[in-house]
Symmetry: C2
Subunit: 438 residues, 2 copies
């Protein structure tokens, strides 16, 4: 006896995020949530940044918010990161109601999954998986930090950083993020393991768990795993090489510290957003690489955003197959449908378009260097949260633009584009016409 | 009895350009070509910039080269702009030989034309059209400049600027380009008319001449004309609005001068490359707009480069049709074939990839601001020739990167990509596989 939801899935997803953001804004505006006076705009910005798991901040999370405020932020991150839909499905299940067709459609959209029969078990697996990974992460971090910070603080830090890392949120409790731990192997490896695990996407982990054999994996998982490996290795080597002599970044570190810091900086842009190096002191070439990594992002159905690794892979494969004059786009002995290529194209065009327009507007509203503005916009749309320092000095108009970008980035360009164009069923087939491009 | 050419069209096109550049480099290195000592690199850079109709310069064309040197540059521009193939076809014809199948294939590639029967008449029309338009332009400019410069100089200027404008080369005889004429209606309108005419592409003009009716025009011409109109009007209004109060650009001009200067700055990035305003003093928002315009470029089979207006339109239409959930990409009652959409995608991915890699490399080789490097790379690949001032201070490695970019930009990314991947004929059809993107 479930109530019918008459709204379309993207509308529900969008509405859910808006409600969560508004709720978060109100909670963070409570007098006992902050240690200082927080404006409505700052509160809205923080709530949006948390729900969209971005991590851009206009006030320092560690000093401006009380324990209550920090817990609100952690919960917003967890709800936003895991996805409202996981919770919706599980809640409906917990309430004993059967989930109706429309809810199934919504959940299908949310999970990128077509098989409705496995939907509920999928949602459960997602929750269990998150719980287990986060428990392990929290245990390691709390134990490690207890010597340095004492049990009480280390418990809070372990809890907060685990949620922030696994959900690729990048919120930190100090303004310099994880810079004090730049050469610390435990923090580096635990935090990166958490956000890579979350950013790879649940479907890949589930498949790995069930099939345990490369050849049995789906095309999606194989593309995702090879893409992630390739991108991470290339980024690691490039950053290690470029920053090796930079006294403000790797220059001062030990040999082992150099590799750890380069590794962290290679993987954090997609789309964790913590930093162990001073972002504004990276070489410009590293910044250009970071921009690309932030734009690509992580996995579909994950806690990461961006155009997604597999979208990027499809673009590259489609280009390659065109050059080879293949009739079809193929990978690992499978053909990628034309519709998928078109979807990847549409998504990328919209992402580039939104990024360009927001950069254009920010260059008008802000008095800042071009590179800082470009970095901020790409970081917001990719819900990355890295910044060259512009966030705190944004004008109100600029803050609004970044809020909209974070929101669009987390919902995904296609969900938002849903509102821009309504589908029509074509009845007339137009004749094909040859056309010169390029 | 024509000799067989066994090389593939892209190879011939590429080889022709290389030969022309080497010839130009040698001619410009002759002692009586320059008024000062010109190095091999400077000579190569200038020849490449001329043949690829880019207009980026490492030495001032007006003062560093003699009349002979300037004439060599003008001829390189004319040959590079009109296309080697026009000349090849016409030369073969003039020699009385019948053009063989392979030459036809080459010319087809060069003209983007499929009907081989009209090929020779097309090549003739191109030449006549260029001759007539350039004669008119030269007449106007020479007459206008004669009062100011005297007959001898005005004849040289009329000749040089007409060729440079019609071929979208952007070479000027003074280091400040056309800045002294920022509010001059005759120079503004003549020069923009010349480069817009050249940049629209011959096929559009021929169709307009023959059909004289909008509804009879091909899909290509309609997309090209509407796209050009839309882009130019939007750019004009945006630049007028953004720069209105900028004392270094429009601020000091009269009302009429403001419109003329905004118009010039709106149309020159696609891909003429003259400037009447100081490029490095434009607002950052105008710079962002200019970057986009430079990337888009002009028409196919024209003297302009870039990804081309119709490629851009196809990307936008494909995205729109995906959002509308149309089965096909349509425009003006015609369906755009899937292969064309895939070609547009491949071309754009390659262009973005090449641009990104060159920016990355330039950021390593050059000590320059991020925005200057981005601008220089996009300008070179689009063979635009606008610069924020980096060209003259490039390192040898940077000069080489820009030379390669100009060359790739003029040949077109697809021609060069031809060398990267050889075609194969697929015999195995792989099964389709669903794939999540975004
Ligand atoms: K993030
Ligand atoms: K040019």
């Amino acid at each position: 006896a479930s109530k019918k939801i008459h709204a379309a899935p993207p509308l529900v997803l969008c509405g859910g995020f808006v409600m969560l953001i508004v709720l978060g804004m109100l909670l963070l505006k409570l007098p006992f949530a902050s240690t200082q006076s927080i404006g409505w705009m700052q509160s809205l910005f923080t709530a949006t940044s948390a729900v969209t798991v971005t991590g851009l901040v206009v006030v320092d999370t560690g000093s401006a918010f009380t324990l209550f405020g920090q817990l609100v932020i952690a919960i917003l991150i967890q709800l936003g990161g895991l996805g409202l839909m996981t919770f919706a499905v599980v809640t409906l299940l917990a309430l004993g109601g059967k989930i109706g067709f429309l809810q199934q459609t919504i959940a299908k959209e949310a999970f990128n999954q077509t098989d409705t029969s496995t939907l509920v078990s999928t949602a459960k697996s997602v929750l269990w998986f998150s719980l287990i990974v986060e428990s392990i992460g929290m245990l390691i971090l709390t134990l490690y930090w207890s010597a340095e910070l004492g049990w009480k603080t280390s418990l809070l830090h372990g809890f907060f950083y685990t949620i922030s890392a696994f959900n690729n949120a990048g919120f930190a409790l100090s303004p310099d993020s994880l810079m004090p731990y730049v050469a610390d192997p435990v923090i580096n490896l635990t935090i990166t393991a958490l956000f890579i695990t979350g950013g790879l996407g649940f479907s890949v982990w589930m498949e790995l768990w069930r099939k345990r054999c490369w050849n049995k994996l789906s095309l999606y998982s194989r593309l995702m795993l090879t893409g992630t490996l390739l991108i991470n290795v290339i980024a690691l080597l490039a950053i290690y090489w470029i920053e090796y002599d930079n006294p403000a970044t790797l220059g001062a570190l030990s040999s082992c510290g150099k590799w750890l810091a380069a590794w962290f900086q290679a993987v954090t842009p997609r789309t964790a957003g913590f930093n162990t190096l001073a972002i504004h002191q990276l070489e410009d070439a590293t910044t250009a690489l970071t921009l690309l990594l932030m734009f690509i992002g992580g996995g579909s159905l994950s806690t990461a955003s961006g155009i997604k690794v597999v979208t990027f892979m499809v673009l590259v494969l489609a280009t390659y197959s065109f050059l080879r004059r293949d009739g079809a786009v193929t990978a690992f002995g499978r053909t990628i449908p034309t519709g998928t290529v078109q979807k990847a194209l549409a998504l990328t065009v919209i992402s580039v378009g939104v990024t360009w327009i927001s950069i254009f507007l920010l260059l008008i509203t802000e008095q800042a260097a071009f590179i800082d503005v470009v970095f901020e916009a790409v970081s917001a749309l990719g819900t990355v949260g890295l910044s060259r320092g512009l966030t705190a000095s944004l004008s109100p108009a600029g803050e609004l633009i970044i809020i909209i970008l974070m929101f669009m980035g987390r919902l995904g360009p296609l969900t938002l584009a849903y509102f821009l164009a309504s589908p029509r069923s074509r009845t007339i087939a137009y004749p094909e016409s040859r056309l010169a491009v390029g």
